[in-house]
Symmetry: C2
Subunit: 388 residues, 2 copies
Amino acid sequence: MTGVYLVGIGATKIDEHWERPLRDLMLEASLKALRDAGLSKRDVEAIFVGNMSSGYLQGQEHLGSLLATWLGVPGVAANKVEAACGSGGAAFHNAFLAVKSGLYDCVLAVGVEKLTDATTPDATSALIMAEDQEYVAFAGFSFVALNALVYKAYMKKYGAKQEDIALFAVHDHKYAVNNPLAQYPRAVTLEEVLSSPMVADPLRLLESAPLGDGAAAALLCSEKKLKEVEKDVVIEVVGSALATDVLSLHDRADLTTLSATVKASRKAYAMAGIEPKDVDVLEVHDAFTVLGVIHLEDLGFAEKGAGWKLLKEGQLEKDGDLPTNTMGGLKARGHPVGATGIYQIYDIAVQLRGEAGKNQVDGAEVGLAQNVGGVGGTVSVNILKRVR
Amino acid sequence: MTGVYLVGIGATKIDEHWERPLRDLMLEASLKALRDAGLSKRDVEAIFVGNMSSGYLQGQEHLGSLLATWLGVPGVAANKVEAACGSGGAAFHNAFLAVKSGLYDCVLAVGVEKLTDATTPDATSALIMAEDQEYVAFAGFSFVALNALVYKAYMKKYGAKQEDIALFAVHDHKYAVNNPLAQYPRAVTLEEVLSSPMVADPLRLLESAPLGDGAAAALLCSEKKLKEVEKDVVIEVVGSALATDVLSLHDRADLTTLSATVKASRKAYAMAGIEPKDVDVLEVHDAFTVLGVIHLEDLGFAEKGAGWKLLKEGQLEKDGDLPTNTMGGLKARGHPVGATGIYQIYDIAVQLRGEAGKNQVDGAEVGLAQNVGGVGGTVSVNILKRVR
């Protein structure tokens, strides 16, 4: 079976792109990825577009054909992949399967979402579609409120303090400063985070990923196609796994762990033949500070209840034991829902290539990206390795 | 590389299922497919759900995790696949890739859509999202109107008459009578079709597929997994291809051909090692009568402009040269958008197994299903063969 290689990456700045339609954002990211790989659009054989809410928010479905059209490659295979906030990672996994199947040698995985030129209530309505409309949304829950429940349960169970967990936002913003694509490239203090408006008790505004628009693209190819790519650095996708959990929090025995993260990561580690300690650079889906902490535990980097200690001890810094969200994470790079999973791949690739500038992690060879749909209803874990 | 086998099928009746939520329909189809295969839910490793408009019409996304939850298999890989009205066929193709990749041995492809408990204007708004919202929907086009344009262009270019093309509806309804899952199992006459209300000149109501709700499921497995399945008849997926065209009619040189059908079918024929003449039973995506005729041509069964002759000469009958839509097609079996591609697989399988009752095509061994997204923006062609 062929290896799968990441040969090109591209992304727009995450921003409020009111003047740019979905197609425009997808196109910029895709063309950048092709240029980055030194390949032509005519090399693309299949496209998977990760997106959650284009139908509801923009009145536009059929993004696969839309992108194929505007990229100038009608004819290629294409479809949209949706797994709520985990759509990007799921699209990447499907693209991985497409290359692995032997049917396609060059596949584009694109993530795109526009949240900000919808009115705010619309984005809130769109996001709760990640959970159960008939049992949860109907009862009045917003997506933020569900995560606030998780936050409370975590603090209660493990005696962790909000000021320790909220540090995740400070961490992300510190690194976003040097990321030209970040939505909020400015530092924040813990005091600012803890005194920002309450969104859903105990979650503060600055503990929550912002609404943003953006697109990112990753170009994958087979061993055969790799021979046509002239790059000094070669990155292989050595592990790719997707797992689900019961959709709703009320069906779970424990609110403080996402079993889909545990399942997907163990599968991906086994496929890659690595252990957590082999990961040099990490991207976790910290849509809310407490989620970032929980992910560190579920991925196997800390005991349950102890994830926040890695943060507090500085182990997540670029020169720490586990450099994490080194380009700003969901909180500060931004979180254009269906695109986020591909932005994470982008940020890992930047590190493995040694192109992260001031945020560079020395000698990073293995990177892991974890992307979450809903409150863990779906989780993808993709592991990249610099092989040359 | 492993072969891919269709070992289980299941579907709900297509109807106005006002009292049943999406999950319920998906679940019925999935459990039927598992029971049909003699496998357990614990055998399922991945799920691909084809659906177009659950976010817009039901306020529910994340259908992969939703189905995994209600099927009682949280943990498996799952995502939703969207390619407008071609979502089902695209989900089937992705499921095919997943087995082919060697990463999954048992994969469920499910299609689901609920159109009728939305108000009619909402379904119309949902369907036009298959085309370009910003250039086409914005100009006032409905999806039906676009197909009416194709109809006019076809009649003008080839001098075909509406009474010959409209026969497709009569054909479909005749076969739906013996299909217990069909939405409209009753015969109609050509006179009834041609005197039914005009929807968009020249398209008549009875030339247009109805709005309906339903779900269908297909269980695919690898050679390895096939050994656990005890079935007398074994069906292999010998060809599976997906292709796109430019999304919008205004960008095409010729309105009377869908180039994505030509591309996908030629690729699928080559993969299967067959020619059009080897197809024993055919399912075409006749969302509108004229589309059915055009598909016959684009798939290679007739010269351009001559598709309607096959229909008029009776070649599409179950004892003709090219038995087509033998369980009622989109017009009479029904067209629950994102589910249709899987219903087509279901109907082909019923024929290849010799379980089509009064509609049985004698000795059918090779079947082809063509599923279309938008007005040909995406087309999938899947070829099934009875190998035992």
